[in-house]
């Protein structure tokens, strides 16, 4: 395969194909080098390493003759590695950390945040005449130091000496690179001005300059000091010493902790929380059972209805069956999210068309009663899913071997007997892999649950935002806190993702045993 019999034109010289390849690789290289430089600037060493590796592999793959298969696989592989393999691995890592609110960053960042948050104006600290300046939209301060030098900075840019400033009456009135704000403009942005902190230097221990009146700046320094040698935080006002504990926080001898922590590995704590913690264990178990019930019942109900319709329409004597078929599969052609939203309106207790029109003004709480909400979810999923089952059952029925059916007829088997002993087994063999993948799909049918009920109605007994129709994936979403309704807990959310993965993988592994996918590899 690597040694062609003859060499085509594209293999030598500057053929059009080669030029196209050259242009594309050059484009990728240009963008890649830009990303590498940006990563260097942002000090993201992980991104930098990955980009350099990708660029090297890409250039090697497209300019060597030895990596022929890689030329075709690489584009997809690159995306697969970054956005699938890496994120899955990262999910696995996060599942074993306490990443989330209160443990958002690295230890260095947590220390810096603690120092900044605990800044107070030190009594008797020096004050200096201050002018509010702006660089573009960004506000900053310019101060005149005791030695007469002008220093200026913004929230992101620590104070630095600026030459060429004009000072009148001990106060800066013009500054190269900055605009001096007029009094009216300062008043307009008063809140921003009083909230602004301009670091004195790169070291957070040096404190910052702040102002209350926009005319005088005071140096604020932190009441906390961090000692790198002993790795302790000391509160200089109360004299308490905090040492880092295993959970990624600074803890004093009496057990009080400082509010900002960092992420650390916590072992199986997240899994223990899911299965054992009082707040989560009860809801988690209910949700786990409901997820299984939902996925199984969805597959069963859609399959039975789809199969029944497939049988009903599978008769050449039925006139207009093409029309029936086209109309019946319409729900399948509607994007799932639209259908779920549509049904959420139709099932609305007070105004929905189901209660108001079909049931003549009833007030049935379709989506707000625990049991009815579950039935509604299943009912809507039946509407969404039966056309798919109808399609695959029709396909399977039409490919049944007719000779077997005829043989059964000749042997005197009745309709029911033929159906039970021949049609159904053959049908199940043909559709089983699809039923299993349908199970896996419904196991993670986030869109339906989230759009129809939002997981509600809520559990009465839980302090966590979970409800009776939540399935595992919507529980992951709630727990992660990414919708802003609860505290973020990426660690627990990722641990739950791993649980789902284990379930789905087990089921899929069973599926692969029954399909020929694995045999096809050989």
């Amino acid at each position: 395969m690597y040694q062609p019999v003859t060499r085509g034109a594209g293999r030598t010289g500057w053929s059009p194909g080669f030029l196209v390849k050259l242009a594309l690789v050059a484009l990728v290289d240009a963008l890649g080098v830009y990303a590498v430089l940006a990563a260097w600037g942002a000090r993201s060493w992980g991104v930098l390493t990955a980009m350099v590796a990708l660029l090297l592999v890409a250039n090697w793959a497209y300019f060597t003759r030895r990596a022929l298969p890689l030329k075709y696989i690489l584009p997809g592989l690159a995306f697969l590695l970054v956005y699938q393999v890496y994120v899955v691995a990262y999910t696995g890592y996060v599942a074993f950390t306490n990443y989330g609110d209160g443990h958002n960053s690295t230890k260095e960042q947590a220390i810096e945040a603690l120092l900044v948050q605990n800044e107070r104006r030190v009594e008797g600290s020096p004050s200096s005449p201050l002018t509010v300046v702006a660089r573009g939209e960004e506000l900053g301060f310019a101060v005149v130091a005791d030695d007469g030098a002008v220093r200026a900075g913004t929230a992101d840019q620590p104070l630095e000496t600026v030459d060429g400033a004009r000072v009148e009456g001990g106060r800066v009135t013009a500054l190269p690179g900055y605009d001096v704000l007029e009094y009216a403009a300062v008043l307009e942005r008063q809140q921003e001005v009083t909230a602004l902190r301009v670091p004195v230097s790169d070291d957070p221990a040096d404190g910052s300059v702040r102002t209350q009146d926009a005319r005088t700046g005071y140096v604020f320094t932190s009441t906390l000091t961090y000692d790198a040698a002993s790795d302790t935080m000391t509160d200089t006002v109360e004299g308490t010493t905090y040492t880092p504990n295993d959970e990624g926080r600074f803890e004093a001898a009496d057990g009080t902790t400082l509010p900002v922590g960092w992420r650390v590995l916590v072992g199986f704590d997240n899994f223990v929380t899911a299965f054992g913690d009082d707040r989560y264990a009860g809801p988690f178990l209910k949700i786990l059972l409901w997820t299984f019930a939902f996925a199984l019942l969805s597959v069963a109900s859609t399959f039975l209805l789809g199969l029944f319709l497939a049988i009903a329409f599978n008769d050449a004597r039925l006139r207009g069956r093409r029309v029936y078929r086209t109309l019946v599969i319409l729900p399948y052609a509607i994007p799932g999210f639209l259908a779920a939203l549509l049904w959420s309106g139709m099932l609305n207790r007070s105004y929905g068309v189901v209660n108001e029109v079909l049931l003549g003004g009833a007030s049935i709480p379709w989506l707000t009663d625990p049991l009815l909400a579950k039935l509604s979810v299943l009912g809507v999923n039946l509407w969404l899913g039966f056309p798919y089952m109808f399609l695959i059952c029709t396909g399977a029925l039409q490919s049944l071997p007719t000779d077997v059916l005829e043989a059964a007829k000749i042997d005197g088997a009745g309709r029911w007997r033929t159906w039970r002993s021949i049609t159904l087994p053959l049908l199940l063999v043909a559709t089983a892999p699809l039923l299993i993948s349908s199970f896996a799909f419904n196991f993670n049918n986030f869109t339906l649950i989230y759009m129809l009920t939002g997981g509600g109605p809520r559990f009465d007994d839980a302090s966590v935002p979970l409800g009776h129709t939540d399935i595992l994936i919507s529980m992951v979403y709630s727990v992660s806190g990414l919708d802003g309704t609860a505290a973020k807990d990426y660690g627990l959310a990722s641990a739950l993702s791993i649980v789902i993965f284990v379930v789905v993988a087990t089921v899929s592994a069973l599926a692969f045993r029954r399909t020929r996918s694995l045999e096809e590899i050989a």
Partner: protein, 282 residues
Amino acid sequence: MRPTRWFSEVGWRHVVGVLAVVYAGFPLVYVVSASLAEGGTLTGSNELFASVSGANYAALAGTRFWTWMANTLVVAVATGAGTVLMGAAAAYAFSRFRFSGRRAGLTALLVIQMFPQMLAFVAIFLLLVSLGNVVPVLGLDSKLALICVYLGGALGVNTFLMYGFFNTVPREIDEAAKIDGATHAQIYWTIVLRLTAPILAVVGLLSFISTFGEFIIARVLLQSEESWTLAVGLYGWVSSLQEANWGLFTAGAVVSAVPVLALFLFLQKYIVGGLTAGSVKG
């Protein structure tokens, strides 16, 4: 045929058919009727076709609906096209070349596709936060980043579907071309891709349709209203003020269902073939 016999053999099928059509079709008739209702509220939409006006459709212009529609189409078309190109290339390599690591690669793809990408949305979010610090256009709230994320799932899901189909194209054809002096690239672009066009259409369409309706990743990644997709935007309308926004939503639903519905009915035959080859609606 006597009437009773006719009914037990054929007639009941018509009864079932009519019932099924009513069941499948009623919500669709309702949404069209509601989108044409004048009031634009949930209560006012209950009587089918009581009033017919284009007010709701006209009102869409005053919202971000068309921006969302454009975003969704851009993301779905780009993802569909990218999926086809990358999936077909990988399937070609696996189907036509024999190289070390081929078996391992195929097995790895099988294992990877067991982990649905949406499960990792927390990690995807965190990844994009750090990528965004380096290259903002690959970070949160960017359509390009969303497309990249979707393309990450392209190989795992579709390569097998294509691989099986590519194997059915006789190798003698490309061997003949090779003897005539064609390069591997020429064989790929001018022979294999042409012969596998049906499966390419199916994969492109399925990818388009599933991207069109994808919600959770889009919801997590797209933060400003201008960059939302339809799924995120329409959910916002219904979840915040269902009663008042109902007219807008139903009109938007009809408009956004049209492209998918049209594609689906137009290419029904191909899609059904692709479905039975093993993929699920996403």
